[in-house]
Symmetry: none
Subunit: 193 residues, 4 copies
């Protein structure tokens, strides 16, 4: 593993433990097992880490999503699997999600952020397009826009349960069911027969 990767992974880990405001470069380099000065060979500042971490997180998220969503499943099943995946990410990485929002608020790297979610949006757009073509969904939507809405909605739903250490399993299940039903109605899904 390169020093750079070591820094990024150490940073993610420390941020999860200590929260964003209390994390220092010292903590990060210590966790990464490198010297203080080495950090600056790879990143000009602490804030420059944010876009990289965000990218890493989106990659991780897409990985988990792709693992969960099975090719041979029906569209509705895929949506359910998609919701499951987002909830898993939220549960395991909710501090990082918050971190990314906080980063959004406190950097001038905003332009870079815009592109980070793009592959994720694209992936869901593809899924919706297929459904549209298969005629199992209403056709009165703007696909890309809708993809963004769905992702925003499901992430927000997942945060609502997990942000407050709410790990009550039945609660989580109900929330998942509710949001899935919400999305299905929103998309106007109907059997394709």
């Amino acid at each position: 593993m390169s020093k750079k990767e070591a820094i990024v992974h150490a940073a993610i880990q420390v941020f999860r433990e200590k929260g964003i405001e209390k994390t220092t470069v010292s903590h990060i380099v210590k966790a990464a097992g490198i010297a203080q000065g080495t950090f600056y060979l790879y990143f000009p500042s602490k804030l420059a880490l944010m876009p990289v971490i965000a990218e890493e997180m989106v990659e991780k998220t897409m990985e988990i999503v792709k693992e969960n969503v099975q090719d041979e499943a029906s569209f509705e099943e895929k949506l359910e699997q998609f919701v499951d995946a987002i909830f898993v990410v939220a549960r395991d990485y909710n501090e990082i999600q918050a971190l990314i929002y906080a980063g959004l608020a406190s950097t001038e790297h905003l332009k870079e952020w815009e592109t980070v979610y793009d592959p994720f949006y694209k992936w869901l757009s593809e899924l919706l397009k297929e459904a549209e073509q298969a005629d199992i969904m209403r056709k009165t939507m703007h696909i890309e826009r809708t993809a963004k809405l769905v992702i925003g909605l499901v992430e927000s739903a997942a945060e609502q349960v997990y942000l407050y250490d709410n790990t009550d399993e039945t609660e989580v299940k109900q929330q998942k069911a509710e949001v899935l039903s919400f999305v299905c109605h929103a998309l106007g899904i109907h059997p394709s027969n």
Copy 2:
């Protein structure tokens, strides 16, 4: 105006200008026109401001929402007005929204945050309940949960346009229309004839 109010208002103003991380207590007291020590008579730290600011923001939001949504309008119209209101808030206060998320990430005041949105959730729940009883909406939802989903969805949609200084009016209009249509389908709205 009491010193405490002066602090809160100055803080909101400075946070909007400088962002959360770069704002210092010194900046706040300077903007509020009070002495450094006075701040600590009212708040133990910078982060302790967050819950108060959040409350203020939710109040402001509800004010705007109530102004926009007209009693005599139909349910669908009300939803549209509701969406308009949320977009207005997002446009005028998007830094504060981000601030609230960031605050979420960096405080241990999480418990206090939970209750802040409650009046807002309640308000929308009432609206939905009426629609349900009037039989112009599908009845297979959990009202409170759905209220939270709708608010999360619309806010997220609004942020998507405004967070990146996207003030292109037609873009905004399309986003509003899309999310309204999304919500209407999700709620299963049908004419009450």
Copy 3:
């Protein structure tokens, strides 16, 4: 009790609890049950308290000494009772003793300090004078000087056991016996028959 006395007593109490460096005027006025500003009606500064506290302590010490030392006792017994008394004071007020030394080091009230111990020195001088006249003690000493030496010695001996939370009773007993024997030999005590 006058406000002034209230301040002095509160100060002593707070100093014992919190130590000298961590005590603030706020703590003192709170303990005294008076307003912040009232303090400055009676003392120009925090350090101005020191001489008064020292006086108070010396008075307390003399009180305890006089309670312990019985008029009808023999000189040697009186010395033993004297040692007992000093050890009691050291046990119950060792923080204050240290406080007085610290005050010594940090004020410009040094001149005032000189006189504080005077009544105590005088008292012991009297005792020694009587013994000298009764011919039960060597006569080759300067009485006042010796009184100071004895007080310095016994206080130092007492501090040595109590300063380190050493409350082992047999240890204390042995230290007392040793210092008493030391003093008796130093004074050249011999039966008066």
Copy 4:
């Protein structure tokens, strides 16, 4: 000279000039010619300096004592030389002595202080042991305890003259003679013929 030593020496110097309470870390680093932050690489706080300074002082004291006390001298002469040495230290470093007492009062490093004086106690104990074995001193004493008493006594005697800028030489001489005589009687010294 290492930075750490520079800090300690600067601290001693500043403490002697300004007293313990009025000395700040800023003063110390300025005197040491180092950066503010460097201080905290070596000491967590101002008070953490105390044990180190105390050790330094005890070392200094023992140095002077060993210089003064001559091997070939008689026991009584050695005691006189010992008293002389302690008075020299008190004269040249009386602020530091007070500083050490003050430090005692204001730190939680008490446990560390206990051991600081140990080498000094040991040294005098050895001297007393030899005298006892040479049969020129009463044998009814606990040697270690007595060593502590003697050191406490002589230091207290020296402080009594020097703490108030009393540099009157005859006064000093008389005080020395008195305390020497006091100690000799206390130890029950008799010619070893």
